[in-house]
């Protein structure tokens, strides 16, 4: 697989800090630490260690990829701001993949695959068929998830991932190796507006 791109993958969108370096299906090095906060401190040292373990220099990377959420607003920004700046500094493409897409396609792309994330006060869903989105990542009520998917595909069998499952960093690296960077910009998928209301007299 020496022709496959060398991909550095980063995920800090849910309850962990994960880094992997992969070429095709071969994972050269990876690290995952479970945490709800603290990604801003751990991410850079972990990336440094993963590259050192693999004996790879930053200049050798072909692509940087990062999950874009939904997830913790802060976690999403930690990963994105780091990955975007790293890619810019190396002059390499930065590929943003929705956390839901990474979850749904963790075991492969074929067939109908759905993913769900449950956060306090919010629930998110997405559905894919052979790797293409039938339901793009969106917010929903926890109890309407199944109905939304059924409305698209009827009684056909769907492989679900989540809620309550962490993103598989190797699946992210694999996905990012094959997509067109122009279609996967590293922009946040917040799916929720900031919690703020306009002043009463501003209407």
């Amino acid at each position: 697989m020496s022709g496959a791109p060398l991909v550095l993958a980063i995920d800090t969108s849910l309850d962990s800090c994960s880094v992997a370096l992969a070429r095709g299906d071969e994972v050269l090095a990876s690290a995952t630490e479970t945490m709800q906060r603290g990604q801003a401190e751990r991410l850079a040292p972990m990336v440094k260690d993963v590259l050192a373990t693999a004996g790879v220099r930053f200049s050798e990377l072909d692509r940087v990829t990062v999950t874009t959420g939904p997830g913790s607003f802060t976690g999403v920004r930690v990963g994105l701001s780091f990955a975007r700046a790293l890619a810019m500094a190396l002059n390499k493409p930065c590929i943003g993949v929705s956390t839901l897409e990474v979850l749904a396609l963790r075991a492969g792309e074929r067939g109908l695959r759905a993913a769900a994330i449950a956060a306090p006060g919010a629930s998110y869903v997405a559905l894919y068929e052979d790797g293409a989105a039938l339901i793009a990542p969106r917010a929903c009520l926890a109890d309407e998830r199944e109905a939304l998917v059924a409305a698209q595909v009827g009684a056909r069998a769907v492989a679900w991932t989540g809620p309550g499952v962490g993103a598989d960093i190797v699946a992210l690296a694999r996905r990012a190796a094959g997509v067109d960077p122009a279609l996967y910009p590293p922009n946040p998928t917040y799916l929720r507006a900031p919690h703020v209301t306009l002043p009463a007299d501003a209407a």
Partner: protein
């Protein structure tokens, strides 16, 4: 903080990144034989994002920083005519400030430092302001008495050397810029409020409203603005629907009270500074409120009366900017200091941690002193 070998580096080129409030900023600065030269200085403001809310909304600020930071850094590098490999270090604000935004800039700084194996300097935003008077040619020489006044901070600091700061006084409630913004909000003048209050004050009668002068005549050089703000709110309530002239008169009266308080506190700060660090005769104002012409004029007058030189950075370096962060980073690198890639974003980070511990301006609580 670790020692980094920069011995005999007569010239240091540093990228600075600032995202602690509502300006997304990047700058490249070269420190040559101790003389700073700003090679580029880019600021992407967020006024349009926050204006509907009449104040800075932290989550909106953090989102805007993510959107705009790459392009801002790229523009700063382009304008400086340099590649990342040409840098000697990367300096990013690591606090104090709005934590969501601080993280964005700090993580970007870490990534660039890591990608090109350059030292990272995690800069205290207040140190940037404290050193900002040195950005201009022939800027302030150490030691000097600094009045740092912005939307988030209001302190007197004895700036003795790079990294050596003594806080002499601070606000016990609101920052001065915050007081200006709150008065602007009361009068529905718009956002950001400081310059609008200043402009309105020029058309008004400063003697019409009798407003309190909090802390006037008190020992020490602490500030308090909560009572003055409340008094303004009371006048607005009494006026019901204030006319433009009412608004101008209230702004003028408010600013007159501020000028009296600032002059009184500054006099006391000079009295504290002189016997401890010698009568160096240097008074410096920095921070966004130092852009207020009336305050500058009063400080200048006061300095002249006491035989002090008065110095304030050019307006563009009073408000938040990345040139001052790059300067603080370069000065630290020159002394051989850099920071670990695990450095945390610190929402609270007093410049003079000793003073903050001994004489906290806010109840310390479990998170410690704010600034």
């Amino acid at each position: 903080m670790t020692r980094y070998l920069t011995a005999a580096m007569a010239s240091l080129t540093v990228l600075g990144i600032e995202t602690s409030c509502d300006e997304t900023a990047a700058a490249v600065l070269r420190l040559e034989d101790g003389e700073p030269r700003v090679l580029s200085d880019i600021i992407l403001g967020q006024v349009a994002h926050h204006a509907p809310y009449k104040g800075v909304v932290p989550e909106i600020a953090a989102r805007a920083h993510v959107e705009g930071l790459d392009a801002t850094i790229a523009a700063a590098m382009r304008e400086a005519g340099l590649g990342f490999a040409d840098l000697d270090g990367v300096a990013a604000t690591a606090g104090p400030g709005l934590i969501g935004g601080v993280m964005v800039g700090l993580l970007a700084g870490k990534a660039i430092a890591l990608a090109h194996d350059k030292p990272l300097v995690a800069v205290n935003h207040l140190e940037g302001h404290a050193l900002s008077p040195r950005l201009a040619t022939g800027g302030a020489t150490f030691p000097y008495l600094l009045l740092l006044v912005s939307g988030g901070h209001c302190q007197f600091i004895a700036v003795l050397d790079v990294g050596v700061y003594r806080r002499l006084g601070t606000t016990i409630d609101d920052a001065l810029g915050e007081a200006f913004d709150k008065v602007a909000k009361l009068l529905d003048l718009g956002f950001p409020g400081g310059p609008l209050v200043e402009a309105a004050a020029r058309q008004g009668d400063s003697t019409r409203f009798a407003l309190p002068r909090p802390m006037l005549g008190r020992e020490g050089c602490d500030f308090s603005f909560a009572g003055l703000k409340t008094a303004c709110a009371r006048e607005v309530a009494r006026l019901g629907h204030p006319s433009d002239q009412d608004k101008a008169d209230l702004c003028a009266s408010f600013q007159a009270a501020i000028l009296d308080v600032v002059a009184d506190r500054t006099t006391n700060a000079m009295r504290l500074f002189d016997p401890m660090w010698g009568a160096t005769g240097r008074l410096v104002a920095a921070g966004g409120v130092a852009a207020n012409q009336a305050i500058r004029a009063r400080l200048e007058e006061l300095a002249a009366e006491r035989g002090y030189d008065f110095n304030a950075p050019p307006l563009k370096w009073c408000t938040d900017n990345a040139a001052m962060i790059a300067l603080a980073g370069a000065e630290r690198l020159r002394l051989g200091f850099s920071d670990d890639l695990s450095f945390p974003a610190r929402p609270r980070w007093p410049l003079d941690e000793m003073a903050a511990r001994l004489r906290p301006s806010h109840k310390p609580g479990r998170k410690g002193a704010k600034a």
